[in-house]
Amino acid sequence: MSEFDQMYREVILDHYKNPHGHGVLDPADAQADGQNPLCGDEVSIYVAFGEDGETIDEVKFSGRGCAISQAATSMLMDMVTGKTATEVAVLDKQELLDEIAIPLTPVRLKCALLGLTTLKVALHKAKGTPLPDGLAGFDELELT
């Protein structure tokens, strides 16, 4: 199997062509926009909580991006539905990467994690849960 067959394996392309949770929630209980400054890609994440105001009842995403970012975000939608905000805030990015299960260079890692980072920012804004690693610390100030 060649390298790009590995990278663009069937399941990635399936998610890309038929993304799960693609769309908009309006109103949403939590929302954030993220962008990848390297390529200009943008993603918006929308979350609706259940009765307890904690459990993710529904989550959707919109925006544009490459196959890796779209497929990763699509997989993420499946992964986090039914989880609490707190659980998602501490979700190890490796869990998502294991799900994606393709070799990623540093640049493509940014694509793959854009959705997760943006989701964590949305939860942080709505619930005060911790920010993702890369944004914690002094870059926090630039979030607003």
Binding site: F4, M7, L13, C39, D41, R64, C66, I68, Q70
Partner: protein, 415 residues
């Protein structure tokens, strides 16, 4: 660009042998390097010049009375003279070494802009600008109260000059800042006309030649520019060095930008006076070896010949446009081959540029995918990103074939 009567033709295979980067395979394929617009590869001759400088003639310049310092000073000043000749600048004191074109433009934006712009004034850029010739003006306009205006593009990816009058009606045109060649679309812009217009309005004309100087003769006098910015790394030179040319009568009236060692005449607690040109604008230890490498790169390019380089790239662009236009689902951006440099931007229906570039890489083909530091242009084109293939003197037709083959693979993966 002047066409020499005895047009020397460039043999890209011979040129290529001077570039060690091509002595390797990428993912088991020959390297097709089609990202020269971002930065060019380096000839052996340039690297050798730098190593020789460090090995035989290195010392801090200008102040030492010993032999090594003299040699180093002569090497640095020799490189400055080479840049002067390259740009046909009237006086070598008008050449300021900087890190890159971005710094050159910032120097003008801070040193001239901060002190000459105010409310009611207008800084005019184009929709085609690289962020480096856009954000500094936006920033300085914001600080001084001046306004920023953009010359829009027409459907061909060329500047729509019919808008100039309505732009001029919006304020006092104090700065017109444009690139000569667009790094995204390859458009060759009518900069002489814009220079004339700028001067008619009483403004200065700032030319971003980062993307033109590597590929064609740039004559600051013929163009009628006031400031011209270039980067060494895009023209076979090392990273870490670029140059600003500025009209002496403007430079000498300007405040300095960076201050510190070397750029002074005398320093006292109550008063410091500035040094002569170009030193006034070169604070601290200069990128000395980088300037020497830049000089060697200019020698290299001159030996090949700028006319031959431009002709070669034009041929490649025409060939690439021809072959690529046959690919189903492709959108090619930018003007016709006659009016563009060796740059081809494109998108393939339904496939994101990142994915295109990734799959091409696995085929040994290096192109750029992204906004190319031209987000205002991307907004105009209605896309987040494009693919871009760009050519230089060492580019061979086989690389374009490899690109076209690679694009077939891309379409297969996403079929």
């Amino acid at each position: 660009m002047a066409v020499s009567t005895v047009a020397k033709k460039l043999d890209a295979h011979t040129v290529r042998a001077d570039f060690p980067i091509f002595e390797q395979e990428i993912h088991g394929k020959p390297l097709a390097f089609l990202d020269s617009a971002a930065s060019s590869q380096k000839p052996r001759q340039m690297m050798e010049a730098m190593t020789a400088f460090y090995s035989t003639s290195y010392a801090n310049v200008h102040r030492g009375v010993y032999v090594l310092a003299e040699r180093a000073t002569a090497a640095l000043e020799g490189a400055r003279e080479k840049v002067r000749v390259l740009l046909n600048a009237p006086d070598v004191r008008e050449i300021v070494f900087v890190r890159n074109a971005t710094e050159a433009i910032n120097l003008v934006a801070y040193s001239w802009g901060m002190n000459n712009l105010g409310p009611g004034d207008l800084v005019v850029v184009t929709e085609l600008e690289h962020h480096s010739n856009f954000v500094p003006w936006q920033y300085v306009a914001g600080k001084t109260g001046a306004k920023l205006a953009m010359i829009p593009l027409d459907d061909q990816g060329e500047l729509d000059l019919s808008t100039l009058d309505s732009i001029a009606a919006k304020g006092n045109v104090k700065v017109v800042a444009t690139n000569q060649v667009s790094n995204s679309l390859g458009t060759i812009n009518p900069v002489e006309r814009l220079a004339t217009w700028a001067h008619e309005q009483g403004g200065i004309f700032v030319l971003d030649a980062a993307q033109s100087a590597p590929h064609m003769t740039v004559d600051v006098q013929a163009l009628g520019a006031d400031f011209v910015a270039i980067s060494g790394h895009k023209m076979c030179g090392p990273s870490g060095v670029g140059a600003l040319w500025g009209r002496g009568s403007l430079l000498s009236r300007m405040e300095p930008f960076l201050t510190g060692g070397h750029m002074i005449n005398s320093v006292r607690l109550d008063k410091t006076t500035w040094g002569d040109l170009p030193h006034k604008f070169e604070a601290g230890t200069a990128p000395m070896a980088e300037a020497v490498g830049f000089g060697a790169a200019i020698d290299y390019l001159n030996a090949v010949g700028f006319d031959a380089i431009a002709a070669h790239e034009h041929e490649l662009a025409a060939y690439a446009l021809g072959r690529m236009s046959e690919i189903p689902g492709i959108t090619l951006y930018g003007p016709p081959a006659e009016r563009r440099a060796g740059i081809v931007s494109f998108n393939i229906d339904g496939i994101h540029p990142h994915d295109v570039a990734q799959i091409l890489d696995m085929n040994g083909v290096a192109i750029r995918a992204g906004h190319h530091c031209c987000q205002p242009l991307m907004q105009k084109l209605g896309v987040a990103a494009t693919n871009r293939a760009s050519f230089y003197l060492y580019t061979v037709q086989e690389e374009i074939d490899q690109l076209v083959d690679g694009l077939a693979t891309v379409r297969k993966v996403f079929a």
